[in-house]
Amino acid sequence: MAKRQAATAAVEVDKASFSYKNIKAIDELTLQVPRGISFGLLGPNGAGKTTLIRMLVGLLKPKSGSIRILGQTPSRQTAHLIGYMPQLPSLYTELSVIQNVNFFARVYQMNDKRQRAKRVEEVIRLVDLWQRRQDSVMKLSGGMKQRVSLACAIVHQPPLLFLDEPTVGLDPELRFTFWEHFADLTHQGTTLIVSSHTMDDAAHCDRLIFMRGGGVIAQGTPNELRKATGKADANLEDAFLYYIHREDKSV
């Protein structure tokens, strides 16, 4: 039983499609993410990254195909297993940093007051905002809001984390700290799904997919993707362009 549990993938998407009215945002996408790794969703604006994440967290139902997270269909029953950081910092701007984090901790049923207070402090220190904890979120800079938003998503220590462009607007030093922390999380067994446009983020992922037009055009480890270009000094940017050109030719 325990063995089977471990064998189920963190995320399994089978030929899932989704359209907003007349725009096809996700087109028969298939994907498997094993547990305990950081998995990157890379692609240009409009590739469907956010739509895919919204489907995985259960906000959007696929029009066809199937989605499973940790072996179950996304629903309110699986909601406590995931953490979700939306693309825009979705926070109560008139509340303080600590009130925001504490609210989401309570929403995720961390009912023990002492434990909750301890954990809330821990995550606020992690995103380096403990000095600013009493400030209203509206008084923070863009990058600081982004950090509060991350704190709210991870406060309940979920086994599966969806982060929609978590590093946008962060300075290089913080970006580095974020990725260090993400590595810690995966070592503890958390699965991370991270969307991004930047190849710098991509290099930090254990595995990644290149998305375009609602589908997957390539997947593998950063090294595999670089090697496929056939050039010794290729970076991930080159790899992405290589796959786009290859796809354009085949159409």
Binding site: L59, A79, Y84, L88, S90, L91, E94, F103, R106, V107
Partner: protein, 244 residues
């Protein structure tokens, strides 16, 4: 279950309390309006007739506007999306909003009530707790109306436009200034569909005619019916805008 309702109510209360100016306005505006009513109507009998209606109208107005805008922001700033991906249910959210805002509604009612009775010397033959219970029913209706209408607004400007559409006609037709029975027949007919008409009738009965909650069963029934209907509509449409 109740835990989550308290969590959300608690957050709403903090949001309002942290905003000092809103808190001051919440107390000051009803008193200013009551004073204007008091000063502009020198005839005691007329004042006795209009003052109770002001109680009902203000609760509907503030409940609608405050929840409408709060909920609109919950949608537009993306926190609703976060909540919908979390373990809280739609009923927890509606319940939390109700509890949070009704606390302010009760406070507002009490302040306004004492001001009317002791400062403006409005006649009163009833019991305060019955008035609070009745105001809570109007408050529930107002909160659900606010959540529901916020689905149709994309920003604060649009939300404010709904006041002349939804609140003003009710204020004119509910019998606030002129008895419904003396209006043209077709207006009476329209008034009979407007919940505020029942709110005003009910609160006059409680304050002026010395009747109790049991005597105004019809008014309570109609208001509760509207509140229940709006609550269902609010929960059904709540998700909209969270992800699309």
């Amino acid at each position: 279950m109740f835990n989550q309702i308290f969590t959300i109510a608690n957050r709403i209360i903090y949001q309002l309390i942290r905003d000092r100016r809103t808190m001051v306005l919440l107390v000051a505006v009803p008193l200013v309006i009551a004073s204007i009513v008091g000063v502009s109507i020198p005839e005691k009998q007329m004042l006795d007739y209009i003052a109770p209606a002001v109680l009902a109208v203000l609760i509907l107005f503030f409940g609608f506007l405050l929840t409408g805008i709060s909920f609109l922001r919950e949608r537009s700033q993306g926190t609703l999306e976060r909540l919908m991906a979390s373990p809280v249910s739609k009923l927890d959210i509606v319940g939390g909003y109700l509890l949070g805002f009704l606390l302010f509604a009760v406070l507002q009612t009490m302040i306004l009530f004492f001001y009317l009775i002791y400062v403006l010397n409005v006649s009163f033959h009833g019991e305060l707790w019955q008035i609070i219970v009745f105001e809570i029913i109007i408050g529930i209706l107002a909160v659900c109306l606010g959540i529901f209408i916020s689905v149709f607004a994309r920003n604060e400007f649009q939300m404010v436009q709904f006041i002349p559409l939804i609140i003003l006609p009710q204020m004119f037709l509910c019998g606030l200034l002129w008895p419904v029975e003396q209006m043209p027949e077709y207006l009476q007919w329209i008034a009979r569909f407007l919940p505020l008409t029942y709110g005003v009738d009910g609160i006059r009965a409680l304050m002026l005619q010395g009747q109790g909650l049991l005597d105004i069963g019809k008014e309570i029934g109609v208001l509760a019916g509207y509140a229940a209907g709006l609550m269902i509509l609010a929960s059904l449409t709540l998700r909209r805008g969270a992800s699309a």
